[in-house]
Amino acid sequence: MAADLVYALSELKEGEALEIVRKRLDAGEDPLLILDDARRAMGIVGKRFEEGTYFIPDLIYSGEILQAISEMVKPRMTKEAAGRKAGKVVLGTVKGDIHDIGKNIVAFMLDLNGFEVYDIGIDVPPEKFVEKIRETNAPVVALSGFLTLAFDAMKATVEAIENAGLRDKVKIIIGGGNMNEDIRKYAGADAYGVDAVAAVTFAEKVVASSR
């Protein structure tokens, strides 16, 4: 039974996955075990995305199915499952840019991998990033941007973090389909990524090295 859900969800078989969850809940199974299987399936999805056999539509679709599963499972849960939180990440699309799909996928992947994500939205001014970093003490900051104007906004955000005396308390990654080493240097970030997996890898490295 357990393997069926992992298979169904990772293979994006929506109808089957939801039917399996329904049956398992009706059989009185512990909701946390169902969520564990769902997480395992999402791990496979993430790996396939990294390997280049799954793409953004697959991430979005699996996210939808997972959402539906969570909604079925939540009312049956007796207490909030704390879940192991791997670390905190402040995430947002920089000022002047309203693209959010990539950012949302990063938030989703980070959350999936146990991170506590503070997604502060789109068109975020540098001050708001600084504010959130101070408030949460997050060690990882992820700046999303797609347009050419984002390069300057990323640079301004890094500078604002520096001026606030917080630069050495965080590691900063810039992300978006157009990112490269030149832009990373220009913005003064620690790393760049062109997909959500890069964000997860970066966050894991930062948290591991601080332990």
Binding site: L12, E14, F49, E50, E51, G52, T53, Y54, F55, I56, P57, D58, I60, Y61, E64, G96, D97, I98, H99, I101, L147, T148, L149, F151, D152, G177, N178, N180, D182, I183, Y186, V194, D195
Partner: protein
């Protein structure tokens, strides 16, 4: 395969237009520029590599105006275009299709665009606000009567001022004698009458916008500069995905309702073909059609990431795009695909077009592979990276341009351009790109 005759004829006519140029010199300059571009499209070696830079809001930056100014002030808008083109002298110039649309967007009460001064700083170009403007269960409504869908579903959702159109009855029901009164009564409410006023304002603003475009383009033609396109269209999948279903919506549709999605794409082919050809014919039968591609892309060279798999590209995205391209080619038009993202993994598929009929403009492409796979079929356009144009120096630009020319320019069939348009491009970098290409891009 479609015949290439009409394309060749149309390009020839474009190079020899019955236009009363003011002087022989101007006539010669126009014809040289058009010929250069036409030869590149036909996979010949022109005298030198033609330049067709995607400019848009760069015009404003070059002339020292904000993006907002050129969206509202016709004189400043026109001045910026004429100054930039006459100073920098490209071969094909970009028609400023977003300039003077401020009044149009305001009359519309647009919810799906942010523009300078309206949701964005005055010196930043517009951005699109995607949404599910067509719900997942509304494909049947769209398929049954696309015009009705536009009027009563789509427009009320994206246009604040046309909300009341949602309360009218379908026009298709107004065929019998006394039912028409009932049909129009829906718009007789205070909100309905406001919507009719909005349509009046919108039509007036649109007419003024069209007149502005015609005037600017006409003036530059009479100075010897051909515009590089005369119409615009999208892949059917993008029409549905960009404006109607939104990215998330259409991605889910590929899994949840693939058949009706394909049916809607098929329906859109003819709608877009007619729209495009009518626009082109109204613009002097200009051969080149600008087709920006959005949702079919991979993100990286090896095909990783991106908005769909290769399989989904072959199943959902390419067939109806190819059909649309086929209709255009048969009628003598040149599809100019702007392949946003990375199309390296899709090269073998998009090679399937008649030789010398298309321009493929690339962004993050493997240039060697592109030239190898497409060199004998398609004119390649690009691909100086936009981040070098905005952040680099003229030396960086020249270095990048040389690399492009060495790999892509070999043997002809190549047009110089940047990978993207941006208002952040440094004027000295654009000047360097143009001057370098005119010098180094000569075919000896």
């Amino acid at each position: 395969m479609e015949t290439t005759t009409k394309v060749q004829e149309n390009l020839e006519a474009w190079c020899n237009p019955p236009i009363p140029f003011p002087t022989k010199d101007v006539e010669r300059s126009y014809k040289e520029r058009a010929r250069r571009i036409a030869d590149a499209i036909l996979l010949k070696k022109p005298d030198r590599i033609p330049l067709m830079p995607m400019w848009e809001f760069f015009y404003a930056k070059y002339a020292g105006y904000t993006c907002e100014e050129v969206m509202y002030d016709a004189q400043k808008a026109e001045d910026s275009v004429i100054k930039t083109v006459t100073d920098l002298q490209p071969d094909g110039f970009q028609g400023p299709i977003f300039f003077m649309t401020g009044p149009v967007l305001e009359a519309y009460g647009s919810k799906d665009v942010l523009w300078p001064g309206h949701g964005l700083p005055v010196d930043q170009a517009h951005q699109f606000v995607e949404g599910e403007y067509m719900k997942a269960n509304e494909y049947d409504a769209f398929l049954e009567d696309p015009s009705d869908f536009m009027l009563r579903y789509y427009l009320p959702r994206v246009s604040g001022n046309l909300k009341a159109l949602a309360t009218t009855t379908p026009m298709r029901e107004n065929f019998a004698y006394f039912t028409t009164f009932g049909g129009w009564a829906g718009l007789g409410t205070p909100e309905g009458l406001e919507a009719l006023d909005a349509i009046r304002n919108l039509s007036k603003a649109s007419f003024e916008y069209a007149s502005f475009l015609g005037s600017v383009i006409g003036k530059l033609v009479m100075m010897g500069f051909p515009p590089w396109h005369g119409s615009l269209t999208e892949a059917p999948f993008d029409v549905l995905g960009d404006t109607l279903r939104g990215t998330k919506g259409i991605m889910l549709d590929m899994y949840r309702q693939p058949d009706v999605l394909k049916e809607a794409c098929e329906k859109t082919v003819n709608i877009m073909a007619q729209f495009t050809m009518n626009t082109a014919r109204a613009n002097g039968n200009h051969p080149i059609v600008f087709i920006p591609l959005h949702k079919g892309t991979a993100a990286t060279r090896d095909g990783k990431g991106g908005f769909m798999s290769l399989k989904q590209f072959e199943e959902f995205y390419w067939p109806t795009l190819r059909k649309l391209m086929g209709i255009l080619i048969e009628n003598g038009f040149v599809p100019n695909l702007l392949c946003e993202g990375d199309f390296t993994s899709r090269l073998e598929i998009i090679r399937d077009v008649p030789p010398g009929t298309c321009i493929y403009h690339f962004e993050h492409i493997d240039m060697h592979k592109a030239k190898k796979v497409l060199g004998d079929r398609v004119c390649i356009r690009g691909c100086v990276p936009i981040h070098i144009m905005t952040l680099g120096t003229p030396d960086d630009v020249r270095k990048a341009a040389k690399e492009q020319i060495d790999i892509l320019g070999e043997g002809g069939g190549y047009i110089m351009d940047t990978t993207m348009a941006s208002e952040q491009v440094k004027p000295e970098n654009m000047r360097a790109l143009i001057e370098f290409t005119k010098e180094y891009g000569v075919y000896r």
